[in-house]
Amino acid sequence: MGGGTAGWMTAAALANRLAGLGVAIRLVESAEIGTVGVGEATLPHIRAFNTTLGIAEPELMRATEATYKLGIEFCDWGRIGDRYIHPFGNYGPSDDGIPFYHQWLRLRALGDPGRLDDYSYPVIAAEANRFRHPAATPGRVESSFGYAYQFDASLYAAFLRRYAEARGVERVEGKVVDVALDGERGDVRHATLEDGRTLAAELFVDCSGFRGLLIGQALGSGYDDWSRWLPCNRAVAVPTDSKGPLGPYTRATARTAGWQWRIPLQHRVGNGHVYCSDFISDDDAEAQLVANLDAPMQADPRRLRFTTGRRQDFWKRNVVAIGLSSGFLEPLESTSIHLIQDGITELLALFPTRAFDAGDIGEYNRRMALHFERVRDFLLLHYVATQRDDSPMWRHFRALTLPDSLRHKIDAWLSRGYVVPYEFGLFLPPSWVAVMLGQGLVPRGHDPRVRASDDAVLAARAATLRAEVAAAVQATPDHADYIRQSPAAAGLGVA
């Protein structure tokens, strides 16, 4: 139910994975209802999604005007004037199970080992606007990183639509005006379109966006409102011309009442301002965005509203919510498309029979709740790991009581550079290190076991590693050239 990125990703994945198993897939969407299409930046996991579908990278990149992404640059978060890159990769190799950054913290207490960034190939390459695919040789700095794409999500949906339709997905054009429930079981029986047609199914995937036509309106699955932690509730988006070097990274710049994104694609740059309506008016938010663009606008700014949170039941009866109908977390860490992917992966892992087992549904809901909650804590970290108090929004965060899990995580980091681990969550320890350190949370201590090594040996090893990173980046081509000279070139090729 619903096209857009969520609808077509789901349809394409189900068409691929359920091929030959006797499952008919129909997607209903209305050309009149616009798609939201934010979330143009992705995470490395999307490559596995595309690979499973048998989609070749150059074809995908051409079709979606995609560029490569090595991470996200955060500006003005810890303090105005600060900047750091959260890369897809680790900082240096672990030593006896102790992450490298502990050595760096030790060396920092003794002298100047440079930035931790200097030990990260993807950070240094991103800063230099360079890109290459990870080398196949394990153990080298230029092989130990991940990458994702920055693309046009509407083009991605269109690409997947062609893919899905070619594999038997039936697309129905029409606007749903009514939903009929089964009187006895309370399941969704069919949807009625404006022209009177009815669409029946055994399983409905609700990709209808924020309104949650089936999961919320028809089945009454409630919504956990997380605004007390993440109060941003509006966005205004506008595309601009490309200007300057093509960065292999997305930029997120903190503002007084929210933050601004900048996502460079081949043919244009996506921009937007996510903000909290308690702290700024829509007009001022738009004015702030327009004033901070670095190139001419290609269209009028478009406004969006949302409430951060998640569905209490992502899956209820015979309806599974995927995409914005399942919840919303601001795209500060490019998680929107990833949460769609999680929803699809878990749906396939727990694909139902007609009996709709309550245990399976409960497990789906448990897994998705964990995915959402762990992303939420990570996003909130960005707002609270800061010295900013220059506006009501930043003062609001200063006064905020954090979830216990996040409080403990920050305390453990500040005390000794310890990252509280978990297994089932999107953001692994290097991501937490990147943001905490990048936003000025410098640990007071480090793992005392690094003192078991000779300081001079640590310093020499660190110097070698920095030199390796610098040399590897020197040998890395310019990002724009790399795309232009490859079969991935689309908008860039004709420029």
Partner: protein, 474 residues
């Protein structure tokens, strides 16, 4: 202030493993002191006689490499444990294994369910090797293509002998042995101010590690689970089979663990109805864990933190994890608040997750009646375990929680071994051609069978390895 003096209190396996790991990993400017407290020789029997595959890495990080183990202990290689007569004629081999292959995005056991093959035994290389009593180190090279590449092994050990191995492996001068015996602890403001010795002297440190067994001489708040008794004796024997056997009896269970040149026999029972026929040293304990093993400047590890029935490698896994957790949290501040909170959180998770695995052994029908079994069954099935069992039963789905000590492979082998069969399989397994799946499975089983046919008995392999190592050392 950084920790510069660490004092370990105890005289058994936990103390020896902790001392050796500390000696290897903490900076040389930190003193390591050892105060013998109590006598854990009998209590240590409750650590059981098997380690998991994690022992290899733990030992290496503590400076005990496998060559030392082969040359300097009675330990034997172990493919796992065979459980027999576990209710309703149930018997299975709980072998260690690396993850099974994932084919076309679908996990291996779903194909088994699809073909109705039932058990997983023919596809677990270690299990097949154990059946024949043979052993080699699993070949990891050749891109994992060798039929035994996914086999995994642990060790069969005598806790006292294993403790001696650790004691011998650290540099003699690295640990300062405090002469005299523990008499008591001075406590002030919720922290340990010092350890009083029997001659009246006081020893102080920045961090105290309580490795004194269930008595937990530095701790408080004992566990309150069910009680078990255990009797253990040695028998000579040159069998050295690379597996432990555990057999359910009316009174509890009995195990036989082949070691180098002998076999360790154990009986576990309910103390109010002991196994009178069992010979050897006897020990009793209350199972369960402390709520707060780390309080102030004192950390409890091993049985001082929680006592676990040695039905699986869980007691050894948890002891390893206690020490690893402690090493990653050697305090950097005086109040140890962050370290204690994190240690206690992870301890509770590890212990409770290991407990899920052990409790699963009692969540089946057909087990004997009697005090031991009644007490074990009377414990409520935790919701987390109920979910694991029910979803596996439904569709072979593995429910997993953060950083469990037992891995998905362990759970698959356990579920299937105990006779749980998914009512239906993952539909995605139908993507593959049925004949091809059957052919693949047959081929895999045949390759494993062929590979294990040619292997030497575990005893012979060990003897040859020992000879080789002695020659290399001389």
């Amino acid at each position: 202030m950084a920790v510069r003096r660490i004092l370990v209190c105890g005289d058994g396996l936990a103390a020896q493993m902790a001392l050796t790991a500390l000696a290897r990993q903490v900076a040389p400017d930190t003193a390591i002191l050892w105060v013998r407290a109590g006598d854990q020789r009998d209590g240590d029997l409750l650590y059981g006689s098997v380690t998991g595959p994690s022992a290899y890495g733990f030992n290496l990080a503590a400076g005990v490499d496998e060559r030392q183990l082969v040359l300097g202990s009675d330990a034997a290689f172990s493919w796992g444990t065979r459980y027999a007569a576990w209710g309703a004629g149930r018997s299975w081999m709980q072998a260690f294994a690396l993850p099974f292959p994932v084919i076309d995005g679908v996990v291996f056991h779903q194909y088994l369910a699809r073909t109705g093959a039932g058990g997983i035994d023919p596809y677990v290389a270690g299990l097949q090797a154990a059946r024949r009593g043979v052993f080699v180190h699993p070949p990891r090279e050749a891109g994992g293509q060798h039929p035994l590449a996914r086999a995994e092994y642990g060790y069969q050990v005598d806790p006292a002998d294993y403790a001696a191995l650790f004691a011998a492996a650290r540099p003699a001068d690295r640990v300062e042995v405090v002469e005299g015996a523990f008499a008591g602890a001075e406590v002030a403001g919720g922290r340990i101010a010092g350890i009083r010795l029997d001659d009246g002297r006081m020893v102080t440190a920045d961090l105290y590690i309580d490795a004194s067994g269930p008595a937990a001489v530095l701790g408080s708040g004992a566990p309150d689970g069910r009680r078990i008794g255990m009797a253990v004796r040695n028998e000579a024997g040159a069998d050295e089979a690379p597996l432990r056997t555990v057999t359910a009896t009316a009174l509890g269970w009995q195990s036989a663990t082949p070691l180098k040149g002998r076999t360790l026999h154990a009986s576990v029972y309910a103390p109010d109805r002991p196994d009178e026929g069992a010979l050897g040293r006897r020990v009793e304990a209350t199972l369960g864990r402390r709520a707060q093993p780390w309080v102030g400047n004192c950390v409890a590890i091993g049985q001082a933190a929680g006592v676990v029935e040695p039905l699986t490698p869980a007691p050894m896994l948890l002891l390893e994890r206690d020490i690893e957790r402690l090493l990653s949290l050697i305090p950097v501040t005086d109040d140890c608040a962050v370290e204690a909170a994190e240690y206690n959180r992870r301890f509770a998770d590890d212990y409770d997750h290991a407990d899920l695995f052990q409790r699963a052994f009692f969540a089946v029908d057909g087990l004997p009646d009697g005090p031991y079994w009644d007490a074990a069954r009377a414990e409520q099935v935790p919701e987390k375990l109920a979910r694991k069992i029910s979803l596996f039963g439904n569709r072979g789905l593995l429910v997993a929680y953060d950083l469990e000590p037992f891995h998905p492979e362990d759970w698959i082998i356990l579920h299937l071994g105990m006779g749980r069969r998914p009512r239906r399989y993952d539909r995605l397994a139908d993507r593959a051609d049925k004949a091809q799946v059957a052919q693949f499975l047959t081929g895999m089983a045949r390759e494993i069978e062929r590979a294990v046919e040619t292997l030497p008995p575990a005893r012979v392999y060990r003897q040859q390895l020992e000879q080789f190592l002695r020659k290399a050392a001389s």
